[in-house]
Symmetry: C2
DNA sequence: CTGTTAGCGCCTTCAG
DNA sequence: CTGAAGGCGCTAACAG
């Protein structure tokens, strides 16, 4: 079977490859009659241009890369939706890479991507990442990058984030106003600025309401969730005075539920819980989980739009193009217990 | 800044491009000494091969495409995890495309992919797809395809599915054994074989237990979830005798919960609900949701492995390579009400 | 073991 | 308006 490419089409039409190429790209220097003939045959032969030949020649891949820790997480799944949507509208393809929060894997992925496979990169950094040399080196390769959610403060580029400080403040204030006086804060211990902002919001809210800052109430979770369950159990047993929990990530909020069930501490009567979460079913939990929910889809879409704009114009992405979107606090109460 | 490519490396090392290429690919026909020199300079210059030039030349892209309806769905998110894992281990990249269950978009995506951008395709077909010409035409382009979950019966290739018939049977039997006698079945109305199998399992379980088949108890949901809520409400009001609901998709199970809450029908005392779902928090729902859970990660990984094996060997994927994995039924009871 | 040569399919000057 | 020619970066013959 002879391959369908510009050459075979040109031969069959008795014209040059150049003319066929121009006709298919709708160049203004080709007559309408020729265009019609070319398009007809191309359609009949189901011609599809070879993307790699085009990429090689034009040094443009029409592809962006998305590097995230995981996708089995409602936040990132929604973000990808937004990214894919923006990319599709702009005629771009989306390559996806998962780091599983593994620094070595992140470095390896980024390194590979410098080979010109992508025109730009969207990234949410792995939680263990401390050295950003691999990311900075993208600049030399002229690959623009936009961070979303888990940003990297050291790299001068656009970032799409949410108002994490304010959300942390609001979540804490929500618990205070509900009567809590001994509020624990659960976060994943790492150097991500996102967690630091939420923590600061928590601290400032406590201070603003005249509540003491008790370091013993701040629990630094780890990657392994089984361990976290143990740590939370330990904390709740050691400090029976805890009457509120603000979890910085969904998984810790869910684990808190499990531990409370196990220890017979009733939610929300004995202890109130609020957590960052994009869990759709939060309202149906027993009891419903109050959440701070990030606009994940919009975050992904905005990040992609900023990146694609830069890629199209072949200009660098500037930190000044950063966007901060707002999370929404859903204070949910059990229908049964009011 | 001069580009870093084989040519520039070769010039600096005073050797031919071919030798540099061979050295970097660890060819056995290059001396160790040369390899060492080449590798040293390549590392120093941060050389990364141009993937597209290589793809063009070798007619191999080391990339697979994944076409799914959506990713904001725990099943597909987990499946992607498995796919990415298998792909990474085999040195492949993953392009992702979302159809949003839109037939036209599916056709357009598949058409584009015939341009050689991918070496193979993993697909879960859009629910509205009835004409499979676009998929069949992939064979002419020599692009192997493996279906997972939502398969296309008309195309002769490998499919990775779960035991949907058995799961439907078990789910229904579970309700029967819990005392239900008027069991409704909610499914999304389309021509996907997956739903048909589950429905048949439901029907056969009813028959096996001597329960009548009442067509009025089978609700065909639609794409829009608001409408489904209305349809479910209507059904439960029209048939107050319904004491069990078997939902074929997660969303319909969740909607059933909402409607029951609204109508004051207590779960599980008045009505028991079981649904296909990969919702992690199902056990924490109020009351907990009994589920049939598919091994989503394994499905994705298996599908990718079958595809990659074929791609590597440049052989067609055979229907005989199909795999059926087993779903798990989680019968959950409220801790409060036993 | 190394170099030379000839493309992969496409785009883009430069000539007509 | 159309054609001829060169080359993007890399690889795979074929020579030495």
């Amino acid at each position: 079977m002879t391959p369908v490419n510009l050459k075979s089409l040109a031969e069959e039409l008795n014209m040059s490859i150049a003319t066929v190429s121009r006709a298919l790209r709708d160049s203004h220097e080709v007559s309408e009659a020729t265009k019609t003939r070319v398009r007809a045959l191309a359609a009949a032969r189901h011609y599809e241009p070879n993307a790699y030949a085009s990429s090689l020649r034009r040094n443009i891949s029409k592809t962006i890369g998305v590097v995230i820790p995981k996708v089995a997480n409602h936040f990132f799944a929604l973000a990808i939706n937004g990214i894919e949507e923006a990319a599709r509208l702009a005629g771009y393809h989306v390559l996806i890479y998962l780091t599983h929060d593994d620094y070595a894997r992140e470095v390896s992925i980024v390194q590979h991507l410098k080979g010109g496979r992508v025109d730009g990169l969207l990234m949410s950094v792995a939680s263990g990442t401390e050295d950003f040399a691999h990311i900075k080196s993208l600049r030399e390769a002229n690959i623009p990058i936009v961070f979303f959610d888990r940003v990297c403060a050291e790299v001068a580029t656009a970032k799409v984030t949410t108002n994490d400080y304010e959300s942390g403040y609001q979540a804490t204030e929500h618990l205070i106003q509900a009567g809590c006086r001994h509020i624990a804060h659960l976060l994943i211990s790492n150097n991500l600025s996102i967690g630091q902002f939420r923590l600061q919001g928590y601290l400032d809210a406590l201070a603003a309401h005249g509540l003491p800052h008790d370091p013993d109430l701040i629990l630094h979770g780890v990657m392994d969730n089984q361990q976290n369950v143990g740590l939370i159990r330990e904390l709740l047993l050691r400090r029976p005075d805890i009457d509120g929990v603000f979890a910085s990530v969904e998984r810790l909020a869910i684990s808190t539920y499990h531990v409370c069930n196990e220890l017979g501490r009733r939610i929300p009567q004995d202890i109130k819980v609020i957590g960052f979460s994009n869990l759709e079913a939060a309202a149906l939990l027993d009891p419903p989980l109050s959440t701070i929910t990030q606009p994940a889809y919009d975050i992904g879409r905005e990040a992609a739009k900023i990146l694609l704009r830069a890629v199209e114009k072949k200009k660098a992405v500037l930190p000044s193009q950063s966007v901060v979107l707002e999370s929404t606090l859903f204070a949910r109460q059990s229908t049964a217990q009011g």
